[in-house]
Amino acid sequence: MPPVHKDVNSKQRQYEAMVRAWSADLYRFAFWLCRNEALAQDLVQETFLRAWKNLDALRDAELAKPWLITILRREHARLYERKRFDTVELDDTVPEDTAWASPERSGDAAHVRDAMMKLPNKYREPLAMQVLGGMSCDEIAAATEQQPGAVMTQLFRARQRLKSLLGGRAAAEGAL
């Protein structure tokens, strides 16, 4: 039955192209969600398996990345729903200019990475969606079923916290 064969091949081709195009970005996103390389790989693999089973639901290639991120977030939520320990509360005051200035003077990517690792998940996740997924506040809000204003606050606090963490380290090293 040539038409069916052709259809299967085109689906396979679409899937392979999607894996090649987005698996790296998805891995990075998964890593920043779970902060564990092995688990991130498992998450990405499971995400793509689910994507394969539901590939017919993807109508627009432009939406492939946010679609995959949504699947991955659900997989992550299933795996880690009971393992969240995000209890750090942050104030949302705008820091002093010196504090704002500290991160860019305070360290390399490794230090920023360390600070990222310490960020609570509720800040790390939208930040990863924005920085790695290229998603706008509205898109993140739609994906996480929140108000755009709430997402903006999370992103604001995420950077505020990050800079605070980096500022503290820089201060300890005498960099400030």
């Binding site: 990075r28 860019e104 506040c137 992103l155 604001f156």
Partner: protein, 243 residues
């Protein structure tokens, strides 16, 4: 937009191209400096989040997908094989059961019985009605109507597992055999043709009548059936007698 709004929005969306944001940046030197630092920090953040991807990740994902797809295909194939095997067993079993049922059907038994009594077909002299009545009585059947014309033979026989009254009558000069099996109930009349014999199986009274003949016309079978129906059921037929 004031400086506080500018910084709040920039902290949330550092790569924003909002015209209001950009306009404030142009008119406020302090915020312009803040914007530059924020962009620099954002560059560092992107660099930091760009963690190394394990080698061969895409290939492993594709391998997992191919393996999963193949496993599902095998499961589906096994499922189809199981269905096919079930159908085969059902058809085979059904065929065996059907053949078994067929080998015990009245037409088969009746035709198989004929060679034993083939000489009766040659008889042409009519026997008395009383002999016919007596023959049926021996099988526990009381005749309710007049005997058919020109009955030439009556005998109690064993047709397969069934006790039967074997009678032959002449219809248009041709011998037509009737086998009446009291107590053998059938659901509905059936016509048959096998082994050179044409006939029909008819539920009648509390038994079954099989009428059959070689080279006889349907009209002859009709006449024989009607004659024996009248004799066994009586003029009123089953509905009348049952009232």
């Amino acid at each position: 937009m004031d400086c506080l709004q500018f910084r709040r929005q920039l902290m949330a969306e550092p790569r924003s191209h909002d015209p209001q944001l950009l306009a404030h940046r142009e008119e406020c030197p302090a915020c312009q400096a803040f914007w530059l630092r924020t962009q620099h920090f954002e560059d560092q953040l992107e660099q930091a989040m760009d963690v190394p991807v394990p080698a061969g990740l895409a290939d492993r994902i594709l391998l997992a997908q191919a393996t999963d797809a193949r496993r599902r295909q095998m499961v589906r194939r096994r499922g189809w094989l199981a269905v096919a095997a079930s159908i085969l067993i059902a058809v085979g079993g059904g065929t065996v059961m059907w053949r078994q049922a067929q080998s015990h059907s009245l037409p088969v038994l009746a035709v198989a019985h004929m060679p034993k009594e083939i000489s009766a077909l040659a008889l042409t002299a009519a026997i008395p009605d009383s002999m016919v009545t007596e023959g049926f009585a021996e099988r526990g059947t009381t005749m309710r109507g007049p005997m058919p014309l020109h009955v030439t033979y009556v005998h109690d026989c064993q047709v397969g597992p069934y006790r039967a009254v074997h009678v032959v009558s002449r219809v248009d000069g041709q011998p037509v055999v009737a086998l009446y099996m009291p107590g053998k109930m059938t659901d509905k009349p059936e016509h048959f043709s096998r082994g050179g014999w044409t006939g029909r199986e008819i539920p009648l009274n509390d038994g079954t009548l099989v009428v059959l003949a070689q080279h006889a016309s349907p009209d002859a079978l009709d006449q024989a059936e009607a004659g024996w129906r009248m004799a066994i059921d009586g003029p009123g037929g089953p509905s009348l007698t049952s009232i």
